[in-house]
């Protein structure tokens, strides 16, 4: 076929090239608009990037936004008085790893980015890690978080002293169920510690 540009689907030479703007989004990084090329075959109406003109610009934009997302997430923790060193300790990752990611000294892996997103969305996961991923404690941490959220969402006032386990005022059955589950988990966790 030589150097002639032809439609890969039907072989026609009647190809029209158009530019279009698309948005690339990344969680915690916002979005960026880029201009890409779209080839349209005037004969079979196929549309696509027939000559691989867009791959690099799309990849570079995603890479840039992912780095921005890492920086934003780490900045969020610092601004909320959670040190990077304490996060590294809880997650058992080498000290200074997060600082290196933030300052672009080393590249954040795809796994690292996924991890950061999860702890940004659910910061209580750090507490789960601090408690060595004990299943019962993890469930209690999650339930505490749920109760706090429900408390904010509803007008029900629940006073729950997490240290003494005293319930002062409960207004719904679901809170009662959550409380029961927490107590059950506490017992299971204590039993497994005794066996150990």
């Amino acid at each position: 076929m030589g150097d002639k540009k032809i439609c890969p689907a039907c072989g026609s030479e009647e190809i029209y090239e158009t530019k279009k703007t698309i948005k690339i989004k990344e969680p915690f990084a916002g979005e960026e608009s880029i201009v890409i090329t779209e080839n349209i075959c005037l004969v079979c109406e196929s549309k696509g990037d027939f000559f691989d003109q867009n791959e690099e610009i799309i990849e570079n934009t995603i890479k840039r936004l992912k780095q921005k997302s890492v920086e934003n997430i780490l900045k969020h923790f610092i601004e909320n008085k959670r040190s990077l060193s304490s996060i590294e300790r809880a997650l058992e990752i080498p000290q200074r790893t997060l600082a290196k990611w933030k300052n672009k000294i080393s590249k954040t892996s795809a796994a690292g980015i996924a991890l950061l997103r999860f702890i940004r969305l659910f910061p209580w996961l750090l507490e789960v890690a601090e408690n060595k991923y004990d299943p019962q404690k993890a469930e209690n941490i999650m339930l505490d978080n749920v109760m706090q959220k429900l408390q904010k969402m509803t007008s029900a006032k629940i006073f729950f002293d997490t240290q003494e386990g005293e319930e002062i005022n409960a207004e719904s059955e679901s809170f009662g169920l959550i409380r029961e589950k927490r107590e059950e988990n506490k017992t299971l966790s204590l039993s497994s510690q005794e066996i150990a």
Partner: protein, 120 residues
Amino acid sequence: MYYKNKSNLPSYKFSDFKKACKNPKEVIIFSDAYYFADLYFSLRTKKQILSFIQSDGLENLSFLNTRRWGKNPNKNNPIMVDSYEFISGYRKGYLAFMYNKITGKWIIKSFHTSKHMEHQ
């Protein structure tokens, strides 16, 4: 490359298509397929889509049908489109591709969630 065409058999060997996915120059992805691969499967670049196919990301792959490509302007070179369903995580997907022996290119025509999906 081709199966002797019986109505219940694919027109192409899937292994040939999968092998072609190792080389991005051999495969073209239509714009709609590209868009929905990102939207439903978080496959955002051509490299990611082809790597996913090539690395057996299409689980429980099942052949649906093979049909003539309706928009083919060249009646002397009939082109068949093979369609498959697959599973990935909680999603049921649909993949359709074809091959033009004159241009030597595989084309991914469709890549989206299945119309027959049970999940979501």
